[in-house]
Assembly symmetry: C2
Homo-oligomer: 444 residues x 2
């Protein structure tokens, strides 16, 4: 079947056939009989198209493409507001959620691969200071803001809101840094190192809050040993991961290099990434922290024997998989935002106050950077996004009961969600502006 004769013979025929095609497709949208995989395929089609369309639109107006993916996600996820509920299944589809989760895990793995462990260790003290300030300042400011905005609520509510503002979700920042080719700068290393430590601190704070509220409810004393175990596990992981990785990763790669099966370099690298992400999640850390650690540990030298045979390197192999799955994560993050919940006056009022506390609090972070000449503003901005970590904190708060009432009520929850959404949406443009406003001094 040649193309040219058909095209010259009758273009109208082609258009007719295309119309039949579209009708067949739309017919499917209504039917509920489609199987699970059909739903997944349709959701992937919509998510990928919308994400790329959004990315393109925002790149054209000089914004990072991730913002476009988020915004188109918000649009598609809220079409019910204009009476179209046909795409609602996308944000509820478990497979799409999991594909996005694997996407963000691979994104942090990529960023880890691009980072250098020795250089990251060198900015360790700055990262620790940034993380500590990034926890203390938003907690204190969040507590104060909450006390002023919600005078009717008690001490633990204010404290819990403060804790929820501490969380840093580094997915968005990592993506913007990658898109701007800045993930190997000193600032990026400080932000990522601080985000890892922040995750550990957040874990501890959350456990302390849960313990304290349970203790306040039941009168039982707080079990100090529990916290020691939580902290101990996280510290063991963060110390053991690089040591185990640096010793065993080269051996593992050399071992599988002797194998004959296909795609072994890819699968070994994915296995290490998923393994570290899994262990992190067991300990209570975010899986992305494990994936970042895995990427940080792995080094070009590990797969030298594969490269000598002319195979692609790990970052080249991961790139298409990430290119497929990462946009799904950000699209879905947007699609999960319920605008209806956010535009309530009370939620917006609370959110604006908390947003100020949270922005100011994270700007204090920049002061933790010890090295001279670095871009402190970008570090502070990079720490702004609350992302899914903030949402998890808020959701746990709604299930904690104090004096017969949830610590985080429906109104406060909406406010916190608004903060998470705002902090996520403003970061890409702010970070792009701050990183490109001058040539970064710390890049090398």
């Amino acid at each position: 079947m040649e193309v040219t004769p058909i095209r010259t013979r009758s273009k109208a025929f082609g258009i007719l056939i295309f119309a039949v095609f579209v009708v067949l497709m739309l017919q499917g949208c209504d039917s509920n009989s489609s199987h699970e995989i059909a739903q997944v395929l349709l959701a992937l089609l919509v998510a990928l198209t919308a994400a790329k369309l959004g990315g393109e639109l925002f790149v054209r107006i000089g914004q990072p493409s991730v913002l476009g993916e988020l915004v188109l996600g918000i649009v598609v996820g809220n079409l019910t507001l204009v009476g179209f509920g046909g795409l609602d299944f996308i944000s509820r589809n478990l497979t799409i959620e999991m594909l996005g989760e694997i996407g963000v895990i691979l994104l942090l793995f990529q960023v880890g691969l691009e980072s250098d462990i020795e250089k990251t260790m060198k900015v360790g003290v700055s990262a620790l200071l940034v993380a500590s300030l990034g926890v203390i300042a938003p907690l204190v400011l969040g507590f104060i803001a909450s006390s002023l905005l919600l005078p009717g609520h008690g001490f633990y509510v204010h404290l819990y809101i403060g804790v929820a503002l501490c969380a840093t979700s580094v997915g968005i920042t990592a993506r913007v840094l990658r898109d701007l080719h800045k993930s190997n700068t000193a600032e990026a290393r400080i932000i990522l190192g601080a985000a890892v430590l922040d995750d550990v601190m957040g874990l501890v704070l959350l456990a302390v809050m849960q313990g304290a509220i349970t203790a306040a409810n039941t009168g039982k004393p707080v079990q100090a040993l529990d916290f020691v175990i939580i902290v101990g596990k996280a510290v063991v992981f963060l110390i053991a991961a690089p040591i185990v990785g640096r010793i065993f990763a080269p051996k593992l790669f050399n071992f599988v290099a002797k194998f004959k099966a296909e795609d072994l370099l890819l699968v070994t690298a994915l296995g290490i990434c998923f393994g570290f992400a899994y262990i992190a999640s067991l300990i209570g850390l975010a899986p992305i922290v494990g994936a970042f650690a895995a990427g940080l540990i792995l080094d070009e030298a590990h797969w030298a024997s594969f490269r000598r045979r002319g195979e692609q390197s790990v970052d080249e192999l991961i790139a298409p998989i990430a290119g497929f799955l990462v946009p799904i994560f950000f699209f879905r993050m947007g699609a999960g935002v319920e605008l209806k919940e956010l535009v309530r006056p009370q939620a917006l009022f609370l959110a604006s106050g908390l947003m100020v506390a949270s922005l100011l609090g994270k700007q204090v972070c920049g002061l933790g950077v010890l090295q001279k000449g670095l871009d402190r503003l970008s570090v502070g901005i990079g720490m702004i996004p609350r992302g899914e970590v903030g949402l998890i904190f808020a959701a746990i708060g709604t299930r904690l009961i104090l004096d017969g009432e949830p610590v985080i009520g429906a109104g406060v929850f909406s406010g916190l969600v608004a903060v998470v959404v705002l902090s996520t949406v403003i970061t890409p443009p702010l970070l792009k502006w701050s990183l490109t406003r001058r040539q970064s001094v710390g890049s090398d």
Copy 2:
């Protein structure tokens, strides 16, 4: 943190830390508190490791790696038989199932990309004959075998068993053809073309059987119009897909080539693949038929403008994604086999009879090859696997009620499942043998 000093200082320390790591990991296996993503990560880790290990073992003994993936899948999926149920969640995990489905869709897309549409059209008559013989012969032989083995059952039961034996699932064959670099031979084109037509015929037969049994139950006449609609949709799809694709695919690629967002070639190709697979599934065809059609239509020339900028081609971009997801499909296919169900004497007795009917029936296929000098044996062997299509037929049969009893009872169902498993497992070694026994005359 330098590697060398640590390693020289104390190797024992490294091993100790590794032990702690393993303990932490195993601890997690018991806990049910892990989140959804943790389960997915662990399942991916086990599936990828087992698939590659199995692939390696079987490659070493001269067998196709896909057989190793299947066999290790069967082993891991049946560890309950030796008292270890800790990995049972893998075959039940929906995300793993969907990842595998996306994997097999991408596999057929790859095979389609490697095939040439003009050359496939040239063997069209052979493919139609192969498909027709491949439906009629197993149906008749299956009916006879069933009549002999199950004398107590009625006409419709024998007929339904015959219909279930007609299905061809081309995933395994496509994989073996790819692994042996034979997917661009005339034999491969005939097998794949016949498998597509077989899927259409199977769809019609299934509808006829369901209609006839419903009619026999209720006394209402069979609605001939329903079959016309089913056949009509499938025929429209198979005719419209290449026309629409050949006209619009180049336009689409040229359009997105003007965009600035990243990974556009990859996402556009994936979009076309998923879109065609989705439409196929709406019509009632297997999604892999749509994916194969999408691959067949696309051509290197379509993304020439991307190549000129130095970007990778579509097959290079799809390869790592397929390398990640395809082994999951075959591992999971193996893990879904319940050995306990299969080793029942009655099931094995029935299965062996049906297996003979099915093998003989598909060998008749080879007679449909009109071209001289082609490897008819390989075509016949390539059509053997029943795969998930056979399982779907069998499962629908258990839900069809005739005279108050299911058409396919529990015993017959186990027998059909055994046929599916056996036909899937024997194909890779048989096909490898037949394809490599002499240089294929039809390759070009």
